[in-house]
Amino acid sequence: MTRGLSVLRVRQLTLVVLLLAATAVAASAEDRWLHVKVDDSGGDNEMVRINVPLSLAEKVLPCVHAENFDGGKVKIQGNVNGVDLRQLVEAIRDAGDNEFVTVRDRHDDVRIAKAGGNLLIKVREKDGESKREPTTVDIKVPFTVVQALLSAGKDELDVTAAIRALRTQGNTELVTVNDKTESVRIWVDSRSASE
């Protein structure tokens, strides 16, 4: 009898813990913010800060009906040469962490890799003979977000689904671009302010 009661109590406790965990996950998903930070020290000293709750983007984007952007989905422009991006991404997802594409020429080093569930794209411009500082680009997108982005169809990107997937991720550094005068940073976290 006592053992039955303690089993029941453990089950209740487990249920409470699970509910609390679910609430915490839901709360953290609610409070995700997308931040964009651009600083340009050349010329007019431009500075741009954008802080948008992902929940707002998720609700608003499906209501926008523009030429190539309809109901939260954007039509892919240009030719992808018959490549099925969805299948390509799924093949990469199923493979282990690796570097899949490396392009080196006189001007740039481009690397596309998979590491820790993220798709990584790194571009390193070579300084060559120019006097300006070479540009570096780092893009890190969780695979779940890439999959959601490609979930709409062959010629469409589902931006709303990608944002929904992004809301379930932790703090994520999405894009970093740096050169001598300009820096761009796009990231997601739970803070409403970028600094």
Binding site: D44, E46, M47, R49, N51, P53, S55, K59, S192
Partner: protein, 149 residues
């Protein structure tokens, strides 16, 4: 006799003051739209505060034809505006957009129930503040205006 007249007069005055105060409180309970424009240097300045309740009520006096015109122009964006304002009402205070260069500073922020747009450039200063709920309400009324002419 005179004291009785003063007593009645005092009661009426008290009642009127109370009614005005109550009306003011009700009118401003929904917030106010304020627009401030200052042309530089030492130019004219304009400050217009309008209670949100009056904006809302005022729309019902706008001719249907004009409302339909407005709806036709921004109609495709109304669902997005409604969704954005509803979501903004929920979200905490934040600077949503800030753009700054050596000539101009634009700030769009949410403070409490108010959406603020502040623009400062070499020639003028503009501050606009409006209750977020009002945006939703106006969008809703405009959407309802899409009836037969």
């Amino acid at each position: 006799m005179a004291s009785k007249t003063w007593l009645v007069f005092g009661r009426i005055l008290f009642g009127v003051l109370g009614a005005v105060l109550l009306l003011g409180l009700v009118v401003y309970s929904e917030g106010a739209v304020t627009v401030y424009v200052h042309e530089k240097p030492q130019g004219t300045w304009v400050w217009v505060p309008v209670p949100a309740l009056l904006v809302d009520a005022g729309l019902s006096f706008v001719p249907d034809r004009d409302l339909r015109d407005a709806e036709r122009q921004i109609g495709p964006w109304l669902p997005a505006i409604q969704a954005a304002s509803a979501e903004l009402e929920r979200c905490p205070d934040a600077t949503l957009v800030e753009v700054k260069d050596s000539h101009e500073h634009v700030l769009i922020s949410k403070q409490g129930d108010t959406l603020r747009i502040d623009v400062e450039d070499d020639s003028e200063t503009v501050h606009v503040a409006l209750p977020v709920g009002l945006v939703n309400s106006v969008a809703h009324q405009l959407q309802g205006a899409d009836g037969p002419a």
